[in-house]
Symmetry: C2
Subunit: 364 residues, 2 copies
């Protein structure tokens, strides 16, 4: 694959098939960069809305896009990509997609349009929203997000370069992976974490209310992603069945180890799994891919009156300490929340002292 610096600048027109959240966001980012954008969708409403947002114009039969971006639901990807390759064969457009699974659509394309596959390079921006549809779209959706570019062996170099240029033009960070490696990677970093989160959440569904009253921030964090749309995630996981099932098999084997260790009082085996897990949490890239610098958390009690969190923000802004990270920990049953402000170790004392002097109750 070429060095990204060799990539030719992307020129339009760019056609976007599927004017939902992702497609319309790609269209808006291309328009922001001054490219002509052609829109199509089986739902005329979506095209109308996307046009009203300034995302481009409806595609006509005479148009000859240079790049086609397929942004349709997972189950339709292979068919729509193959159709786009065949339709654009006379003028040789590059075709990509933004689906979250790469091997199974590629296999469909290889079966449906084998002569055209050299112009196809898959991609996958790691971005989304809890909302969907063109109204939720934004040119800023991909800013700073990893964007996988998954070239297959017979992909043309100029097709890879065009898709890499699209990722960069949208503000994403291109990550080059082959399709199978991509699917194994998202099984590990997205699909299996989602399914495990779902298994924890499912055990809460019929739990007594008194049990759930003891819920802390930990179980909220673990189960947050499990709130996602079952239909969409069902399609995504089903499209990556092989990689997901293989990894779930590894998880099942280690779950057996855990059950035997806890049931049999084998503290060493239990701590072994927990220690491997700590190493895993440290393997996740930190901010900017660099190891995390030593940091310190200052906890601030925030009464739940309107404006209290805004007042805290204003005070932190005036104190001028650089906040690395922030989270809120809400407390069931009481009119107070805890704000967790993460700062470098050397700034923590000043932040805590300054907040206390302004009347906030803090602890570390």
């Amino acid at each position: 694959m070429p060095d990204p610096s060799d990539a030719a600048p992307l020129t339009g027109p760019v056609e976007v098939i599927g004017a939902g959240l992702l497609g319309t966001s790609v269209a808006l980012a291309c328009r922001r960069a001054g490219l002509e954008v052609l829109l199509s969708d089986t739902a005329p409403d979506h095209v109308r809305t996307a046009r009203a947002l300034g995302a481009g114009r409806a595609r006509t039969a005479a148009d000859q896009p240079r790049l086609v971006v397929v942004a349709v639901p997972p189950a339709q990807l292979g068919t729509v990509i193959a159709e786009a390759l065949v339709a654009t064969a006379p003028y040789g457009a590059v075709v990509t997609d933004v689906g979250s699974v790469k091997s199974s659509p590629l296999a469909e394309v290889a079966a449906l349009a084998p002569a055209e596959i050299e112009r196809y390079v898959g991609s996958h921006p790691m971005a989304g929203s809890e909302r969907s549809g063109p109204l939720a779209a934004s040119a800023a959706l991909f800013d700073g997000r990893p964007w996988a570019v998954t070239a297959h062996p017979s992909a043309r170099a100029d097709a890879v370069a065009a898709v890499t240029a699209l990722a960069e033009l949208c503000g994403g960070v291109p990550v080059e992976l082959d399709p199978a490696a991509h699917d194994r990677a998202v099984a590990r970093t997205s699909h299996v974490p989602h399914l495990m989160s779902a298994l924890v959440a499912a055990r809460l569904a019929d739990a007594p209310a008194a049990d759930l009253a003891l819920s802390g921030q930990g179980v909220r964090d673990v189960t947050r992603v499990a709130a996602g749309d079952p239909r969409l995630y069902g399609q995504i996981v089903a499209g990556n069945a092989d990689a997901v099932v293989e990894l779930l098999g590894e998880v099942r084997a280690q779950l057996e180890v855990l059950i035997r260790a806890i049931g049999g009082g084998d503290r060493t085996a239990l701590q072994g799994v927990l220690a491997e897990a700590v190493a895993g949490t440290r393997a996740i890239p930190g901010k900017h891919g660099a190891p995390d610098a030593p940091s310190s958390t200052v906890y601030v009690a925030v009464p739940d009156h309107p404006g209290e969190l805004a007042r805290l923000f204003a005070d932190v802004g005036e104190i001028g300490v650089n906040i690395e990270d922030v989270r809120m920990d809400h407390d069931p049953g009481r009119q107070v929340g805890l704000a967790e402000l993460v700062v470098t170790q050397d700034a923590a004392d000043r932040l805590e002292t300054s907040l206390e002097s302004r009347g906030w109750v803090t602890h570390r």
Copy 2:
């Protein structure tokens, strides 16, 4: 159990055995309320540090505490509680503890000090910190946190009242549960979520770096608690083995269902588990135990220059919209973060417009 409003005001002296994070925090909260506090710890350093923080004075042989709070490591709880019951038998002190598992220490106490057990009532504040030791302690540690009070059938009513009063005096929210129900509840809301988080994190430990480059906020949330100390969590889980193993058995059965459904292409069974999970996430009590009000998230791109997040805070403070929740989403490999500001639906437009007019790039 008595209505909390019947609780006699708690009077001192209160003895705290174990001047670590939790013990010293309880001591500071009691001092804040004007009570006399007596400190003891097998590590004289801890008592010295806690005294220097104003948490009380060292206990002497002549002291006769009214309430003893045992805050020692999980494995020593039963023995130390029983010793405290025997030592205080001449003047009838109430004894409690702040351990995270309740049935196994109770069984030990029943074996070691059966004649004194009516003066013992266990408790468990749902609070902690990533730090440990008396220097990390704070009188505010328990503010707004659930605090389980786990009376057993032969506990005296005045002992239950005293422990409930302690929870309230420390700023906690008392939740009454019997010891076995407590242990089942924390298996479900804390121990099993921790172990499942650990299973996901362990699969990251030896993953290729390119896979981990695709890590998004989801896997970070799911694995956050797995970073906790393996020795401490090993002790906690081992102390609650029965409830944890029972629940892990249910999880294993549902994992089998998932593996069969995904491997066999049974989309209905897969979506069934995912839908049960969505119901589970909704069962967790929202802010103040009430169902969550409709809310909207405004995403703001925050360049990673010193002071940018502080500047955002200052702007949000001036705009004056009440922020319900806030989180940071860091992006590996790029100098930008995303702040997620959660507000009520009717305030989202004003927040977004006001931020855009101040030069911030936002989306919804």
